[in-house]
C-alpha cells in the first residue's frame, strides 16, 4: 500500500523530470498560454537570444488585455501605443509557430475563459501563463499558475521550470451556500478571514460539499482568487462534472474513459501542511470596502477599522454600513465573473428593470466571444441593454486601467472583478468588488445593494 497522496503531490510527481544539484526540481510544463500584454515581450526576448520554442504546438496566445471591446474593433486600441502590443504579439506568434486567437477570431476571449472552453487546460496537466489569474484554470483539476515573462521564456525554451516544492493547504467549504450567495462570496470570505497573504507558499486545494456542488464555471471563480490569497495557485479535484464539461472540446480528448482520470484526486488520509474549514451556510454576499481584496465585509455589515490609507483612499469611515454606499458606475466582466452563468444570474436581476439614473457608466464585457454568442442566443444582451448597460466584445476591459478607456474621474464603482487596489480601475477610482448579482442589484439601486432582496 503506497502512502496516501494529495492531488498536488500526484501531479508534481508525475511531472518530475530531474532534481537539480542545489535541491530544486525540474517540473515538466504541458501547456503555455500567452497574451498580448506580456507575450510579445517573452517571444521577442527568446527570439533575440536565438532560442527556439521547444514545442510550439503546446503554446497558445490570445489578444485579451488591451484590445478594444467596442463593436467593429480592429488592432486600434484606446490605450495610447497599445496597437504595438497587438501587432508585435501577432508577428512573434506567427514566427514562433504558435496558435494565436487573434482580435477578430471567433474563439477570442480572456485567456482563462477560452482555455477551458477549448479544452486546452485538462485535469492533471501543468499549465503556466504570464498572468497571475492563471490559477483560475485549477478549477479543472490542473496545476495551473501565473509566472513572469522570464519564466514563460524558460518554459517555452526548455519545456520545464526549476521549482521548489510548494506546501499544501486544503480549504474545505462544509455545507451548502444560501440562495443569492456565490463562489465569489466564498473567495472573499476566505480573504476577509485569513488575509491577502494567508496562502503564501501554498497550493490550495478547495474541497468540501459546497465546492463539489458548484458548476465548473463557479469553480473557476473560486480558484480565480487564489492569487489574491498569495497562493501559488488553487486546484479542485476533477469529478464527473469536470469530465462532462471537457469531453469533446477542441483540444481535449473525446472521452475520459481511461482509468487514469479517476486517479486525479487526493487520497483519503493524505496530509496537508495546513487545513482551513469554512461553513458555507454562514456565508453572506460579500463586498470589498477598502483597497486590498482582504478588505471585505458581508453586505449587511459595517466597515471595520483598517489601515488609515485604505479608509482615506476609499473615503469610508469605520463603522459605516457598506450597504447603501452610493455608486457611480457598474462593471460586469473579467476572468473572475464573465462566463455565461455569471451573465445569466446578473440578467435575472436586471430583467425588466433600469439602472439608477445615478449610474454614469454600466458595462457588460463577456468573457469570450463564445460566451457573447451564447448569451445573445438567449437574449441576455437585450436584457442588459434594456437595463442601461453597454454590451461589449470580449476582453479584460476595465478590470484594470491601461490608459485608454476609463471611468469618469472620481467614480466609485461596483465591479465583478478581482482587485480593488488603489488606482486599479484608474487614478482615484474607488472600486468595490462583488459578485455579478451584487453588481446588478447595486446598479439598479445606484448604491451598494443586497442581491437577495431582488431574488424572486
Amino acid at each position: 500500500m503506497t502512502q496516501p497522496r494529495t492531488l498536488l503531490a500526484k501531479i508534481w510527481d508525475a511531472h518530475h523530470v530531474a532534481d537539480t544539484a542545489a535541491g530544486a526540481t525540474l517540473i515538466a510544463i504541458d501547456r503555455v498560454f500567452l497574451h498580448e500584454r506580456t507575450g510579445a515581450s517573452a517571444l521577442k526576448s527568446l527570439a533575440a537570444a536565438g532560442r527556439p520554442v521547444l514545442d510550439p504546438a503546446r503554446v497558445f496566445a490570445v489578444m485579451d488585455h488591451i484590445v478594444d471591446t467596442r463593436p467593429g474593433r480592429g488592432d486600434q486600441t484606446l490605450m495610447q501605443g497599445g496597437q504595438a502590443f497587438i501587432t508585435e504579439t501577432r508577428e512573434a506568434a506567427l514566427a514562433a509557430g504558435i496558435r494565436l486567437f487573434d482580435v477578430t477570431d471567433r474563439d477570442q476571449g480572456i485567456t482563462h475563459v477560452i482555455s477551458p472552453e477549448l479544452g486546452i487546460v485538462l485535469p492533471g496537466v501543468t499549465l503556466v501563463a504570464p498572468d497571475s489569474h492563471t490559477c483560475t484554470q485549477g478549477a479543472l483539476g490542473a496545476l495551473a499558475w501565473g509566472i513572469g515573462s522570464s519564466e514563460a521564456e524558460h518554459a517555452m525554451a526548455t519545456g520545464v521550470l526549476r521549482l521548489a516544492r510548494p506546501k499544501t493547504m486544503r480549504v474545505t467549504f462544509k455545507g451548502r451556500l444560501s440562495p443569492g450567495v456565490t463562489p465569489k462570496d466564498m473567495a472573499l470570505t476566505l480573504l476577509a478571514t485569513h488575509g491577502a497573504a494567508g496562502g503564501s507558499g501554498y497550493v490550495v486545494e478547495f474541497a468540501g460539499e459546497a465546492v463539489g456542488a458548484l458548476d465548473i464555471e463557479g469553480r473557476m471563480t473560486l480558484c480565480n482568487m487564489a492569487t489574491e490569497f498569495a497562493a501559488m495557485t488553487g486546484i479542485i479535484a476533477p469529478d464527473e462534472k469536470t469530465y462532462a464539461y471537457l469531453a469533446g472540446r477542441r483540444y481535449a480528448p473525446a472521452t475520459f474513459d481511461d482509468p487514469y482520470w479517476q486517479t486525479l484526486r487526493t487520497d483519503a488520509g493524505a496530509v496537508f501542511d495546513r487545513e482551513i474549514i469554512i461553513d458555507a451556510s454562514t456565508i453572506a454576499p460579500m463586498v470589498s470596502w477598502g483597497t486590498s481584496p482582504e478588505h471585505c465585509v458581508a453586505i449587511d455589515g459595517t466597515v471595520p477599522q483598517g489601515p488609515a490609507r485604505a479608509h482615506e483612499y476609499i473615503a469610508l469611515d469605520a463603522g459605516a454600513p457598506i450597504k447603501g454606499t452610493p455608486i457611480d458606475a457598474a462593471f460586469i466582466g473579467s476572468c473572475t465573473n464573465a462566463r455565461l452563468s455569471d451573465l445569466r444570474r446578473a440578467a435575472a436581476i436586471l430583467r425588466g428593470r433600469r439602472v439608477s439614473p445615478a449610474i454614469r457608466k454600466a458595462l457588460v464585457v463577456p468573457g469570450s466571444m463564445a460566451v457573447k454568442r451564447a448569451a445573445e442566443a438567449e437574449g441576455l444582451d437585450k436584457v442588459f441593454i434594456d437595463a442601461g448597460f453597454e454590451w461589449r466584445m470580449s476582453g479584460c476591459s476595465l478590470c484594470f486601467y491601461a490608459g485608454g478607456e476609463g471611468f469618469e474621474p472620481g467614480s466609485r464603482t461596483i465591479s465583478s472583478t478581482n482587485r480593488n487596489f488603489e488606482g486599479r480601475q484608474g487614478p482615484g477610482i474607488r472600486t468595490h468588488i462583488a459578485s455579478p448579482e451584487t453588481v446588478a442589484a447595486s446598479a439598479l439601486a445606484g448604491a451598494i445593494a443586497d442581491p437577495r432582496e431582488r431574488l424572486a
Binding site: G23, L26, A84, L122, S132, I147, S150, E151, A230, F421
Partner: protein
C-alpha cells in the same frame, strides 16, 4: 543575470502592507513591449502628485534627498501582490533598487525578482522598522542583514542563492539537462498521448 553578492546602502522605507504591482508600476506606464524605459513610471501613483505632469510628491519616500542613489527598499507584508507583470522588477531595478526587504513576498514577484538579480529578503516587520533610512549591508553568501551592531539572518533556498551569487542564466543552466528532459518527454508521450498536439497549420 546581474550577480548579487553583497550590497551596502541606505534603506528606503515604504512600510505599507500589500504593495501591489499596479502600484509599483501601473498598466498605463507599460508603454512598450521592451524591458526598459520603466523607471519613470515606478510607483507613479504615489511618487507624483500629478502623474500626468510628473510633479513629484515631496512626502513620498523615493522623492526625499536621502533616497537618491540608494539601492535597498523596505516594505510591508505581501510585497508585489497582484499582477504577474515582471515590469515591476524591471522598473525597480532600472530606478536602482537591487534588494527589497519585507516580511513576505507574493510568489510571482519573488520568482521574477530572483530571475533578474533583485534579492528579496524576508525579515519580520519588527526587525525591518528600525532599518528605516539606516546604512545597512545585505550579504548573500552569509545570508545576513547588518545594521550597526545588529545582524539579522535571513533564509533563501539554495538554488536561487547560488544562481544569484554566480549570476547564472536559468535557461542556459536548464538546457544542460536537455537529455533528461527529452527522455522524460519521450516516456510521457506513451503515458499521456493527449498532451502532445499536432503542429498548428
Amino acid at each position: 543575470m546581474t550577480p548579487f553578492i553583497t550590497l551596502a546602502s541606505r534603506a528606503i522605507p515604504l512600510l505599507r502592507d500589500n504593495i501591489d504591482t499596479d502600484a509599483v508600476i501601473p498598466s498605463r506606464e507599460m508603454k512598450t513591449t521592451g524591458r526598459t524605459g520603466l523607471a519613470d513610471g515606478l510607483f507613479a501613483p504615489w511618487r507624483y502628485g500629478d502623474a500626468a505632469a510628473r510633479t513629484p510628491d515631496p512626502t513620498f519616500a523615493l522623492n526625499q534627498s536621502q533616497a537618491v542613489g540608494q539601492r535597498i527598499l523596505l516594505a510591508g507584508e505581501n510585497f508585489g501582490c497582484g499582477s504577474s507583470r515582471e515590469h515591476a522588477v524591471w522598473a525597480l531595478m532600472e530606478w536602482g533598487i537591487a534588494c527589497v526587504i519585507a516580511p513576505s513576498f507574493a510568489p510571482i514577484f519573488k520568482a521574477n525578482a530572483l530571475r533578474n538579480g533583485l534579492l528579496p529578503v524576508a525579515l519580520s516587520g519588527e526587525l525591518i522598522a528600525p532599518l528605516a533610512w539606516e546604512e545597512i549591508t545585505v550579504d548573500l553568501p552569509s545570508q545576513t542583514v547588518t545594521c550597526g551592531d545588529a545582524i539579522h539572518r535571513f533564509e533563501i533556498e539554495t538554488e536561487p542563492k547560488e544562481m544569484l551569487i554566480e549570476g547564472l542564466d536559468a535557461i542556459d543552466l536548464t538546457l544542460k539537462s536537455r537529455p533528461e528532459i527529452d527522455a522524460w518527454t519521450e516516456a510521457d508521450k506513451a503515458l499521456r498521448p493527449w498532451i502532445y498536439l499536432e503542429k498548428h497549420a
